[in-house]
């Protein structure tokens, strides 16, 4: 709830049947309750994502059950599974082809940091090397409830996005890039190995 409207006044008016809202609240309320995920499963976490969309852990109660096959109609990319170096250019291209505003949930240990397959030569150590990620879900695979918890976390993040001012949401700011360079296949590794602008890991020096 935005802070420009005084809470007491709002609840007082609501008791008399007058509902007060702001343009930003309405805009965010509409977007957060109908997020269309891209139909895009990589590995085991994709099966847990399907189980979340099935009848027991119903993602339809959060408005997220419309899985769109084409990125043109999707606004959330759930990277569910191991991101290999052969698949990374495809994922970045799909991310580029999604219309703004778009969000990314990095589901499972493999999508965050390469997970158990970190020592593999063909495994990308985390998708946040090439595209910005909004919510990370640890777990291998995370339970369907953990995915629902992350979905609610994403809804909270959308709810808190501003419409105007300098802290406004990225997709509204013309300066923010809506597209990221697609890595090329090199002789030994992807070129470039990471998107330096996006991926600045802290230096942890261990003895």
């Amino acid at each position: 709830m935005s802070d420009q409207i005084d809470g007491g006044l709002r609840s007082e008016l609501q008791r008399q049947g007058i509902w007060v809202t702001s343009m930003e609240e309405l805009y965010n309320w509409g977007r957060k309750n109908s997020i269309w995920p891209l139909q895009f499963g990589l590995a085991c976490c994709a099966i847990e994502m399907i189980a979340t969309a099935a009848s027991r852990y119903d993602i339809a109660r959060f408005g997220g059950e419309v899985f769109r096959p084409s990125p043109r109609q999707a606004d959330l990319m759930i990277v569910a599974g191991t991101v290999t170096k052969k698949m990374a250019p495809q994922i970045v291209r799909l991310y580029n082809q999604m219309p703004d505003p778009k969000y990314v949930i990095s589901m499972g240990a493999c999508a965050i940091s390469g997970g158990p397959f970190k020592q593999g030569y063909n495994v990308l150590k985390g998708i946040d090397r090439y595209i910005p990620v909004d919510v990370y879900i640890p777990g291998c695979p995370p339970r369907p409830e953990a995915l629902l918890h992350a979905f609610m976390e994403l809804q909270r993040k959308i709810d808190s996005q501003k419409l105007t001012g300098n802290a406004k949401a990225e997709h509204l700011d013309p300066m923010q890039p809506s597209e990221f360079p697609v890595p090329a296949f090199g002789a030994h590794d992807l070129e470039p190995a990471a998107n330096p602008r996006l991926f600045q890991p802290p230096k942890i020096e261990r003895s």
Binding site: L42, A43, S55, R56, T84, K86, P116, G120, N122, P141
Partner: protein, 383 residues
């Protein structure tokens, strides 16, 4: 064409259009390729003229990591091979390491392994029928029925091994946790309820005219080509070849149970669909028998060390009848704690060898049904 000629990969069909064909990539992100599997399809109108599968989008270097980790350390990685059937993957790996090191398994552990493998087969075949129907166009409904049953079986796995899909339950020489009486009670109840679900599921899908029209005479496979191309599992038995490793090798006390092996005649998609449906009935039969005969006793061979487990120098190839076909592990040990060579024989990867032979001449929509009937899981295809 004589037999050897027919067994070769098919020459590209010549198209009447002398111009270029429509090159379409049914790419890594496709609603019904069961994961990141890509096919470069050349189309003449709607007819498939050339189909080259492209693998490797989920190549997670399972074998290289297997060579850098201890024998026990590779066990949780086998859950992630075919992430629908973690129990049968564990069993195949445990079986080949026991063959490599010559370890016996107590009786109760062998019975538990049979029960869990058959439960895995049930939920794998139910999920496959659900996915195959959604490939055909019935988008959500059969999948919801199948996943409703799958959730019940996953609850059993979770209460026994601790995790829904990644059970990591079997150790060399037995199983990690013993199944308590209340777990057996719940398992019996679920297995007794399963035939009711099977009848309901078959009434829902198998007699449906659209399913019959879409799958009969689609993707026919001859028995000689199936044997020569290394098909195993329901895909091979759909062509009428009677080869089920549970009967051939007789591993894991399977000779003690009475069960039949369903065989098809035409080797088309409908027969493959029926194989899975009939095998579910057989698995329920095996489960009932195994749950009555299971003896008490230890579940773990006490002589086997967990840490610093060093099998003697040598090699071994152990295989089981996984839900998708013959899942084998080929291990070469040089006496150290890490295997020298750790190789997985992936049934769904080899079952894809004849994908082009099945799809040539069919329309694009049939390619999806044929791919769905092969039942591939990319974790196992790309390893």
């Amino acid at each position: 064409m004589n037999t050897t000629e027919m067994l070769q990969p098919p020459p590209a069909m010549t198209s009447r259009l002398d111009g270029e064909l429509m090159e379409v990539s049914m790419g890594p992100q496709h609603p019904s390729t069961h994961g990141v599997f890509r096919m470069n399809v050349a189309l003449d109108g709607e007819m498939v003229v050339k189909l080259k599968p492209v693998f490797g989008y989920l190549h997670r270097n399972h074998e290289k990591i297997g060579e850098n980790t201890s024998y026990l350390g590779s066990m949780p990685y086998t859950d992630r091979l075919d992430y629908f059937c973690s129990m049968t993957n564990n069993w195949a790996y445990a079986l080949s390491v026991e063959k490599l090191a010559g370890i016996e398994v107590p009786e109760r552990a062998e019975y538990l392994r049979v029960i869990l493998a058959e439960l895995t087969r049930l939920q794998n075949h139910a999920s496959l029928l659900g996915f195959l129907l959604s490939d055909m166009g019935a988008w959500g409904t059969p999948l919801m029925y199948a996943f409703r049953e799958r959730e019940k079986i996953l609850d059993l796995f979770e209460s026994l091994s601790g995790s829904r899909m990644m059970c990591d339950y079997m150790r060399f020489g037995g199983c990690r946790v013993d199944a308590g009486p209340d777990w057996m009670e719940r398992a019996k109840k679920i297995v007794d309820l399963f035939p009711k679900f099977l009848d309901e599921f078959e009434k829902l899908i198998l007699s449906n005219e659209i399913v019959i029209m879409r799958t009969q005479e689609v993707g026919k496979l001859s028995a000689e080509l199936a044997i020569n191309a290394g098909m195993t599992g329901p895909m091979l038995r759909a062509c009428g070849v009677n080869y089920d490793i549970r009967k051939v090798d007789g591993y894991g006390f399977y000779p003690r149970f009475k069960f039949r092996v369903p065989l098809g005649e035409h080797g088309d998609c409908y027969d493959r669909l029926m194989m899975r449906a009939l095998e579910m009935h057989e698995s329920v039969g095996i489960l009932k028998q195994a749950m009555e005969q299971i003896p008490a006793g230890p579940v773990m061979n006490p002589k086997v060390k967990i840490r610093a487990f060093r099998p003697p120098v040598g090699e071994a190839y152990g295989r089981i009848e996984g839900p998708k076909g013959e899942l084998g592990f080929y291990l070469i040990s040089d006496g150290g704690t890490n295997p020298y060579r750790y190789r997985v024989r992936p049934p769904s990867f080899i079952n894809l060898t004849v994908l082009e032979d099945l799809c040539l001449g069919h329309t694009v929509a049939d390619v999806m049904v044929i791919l769905g009937s092969v039942d591939i899981v990319l974790g196992e295809v790309d390893r």
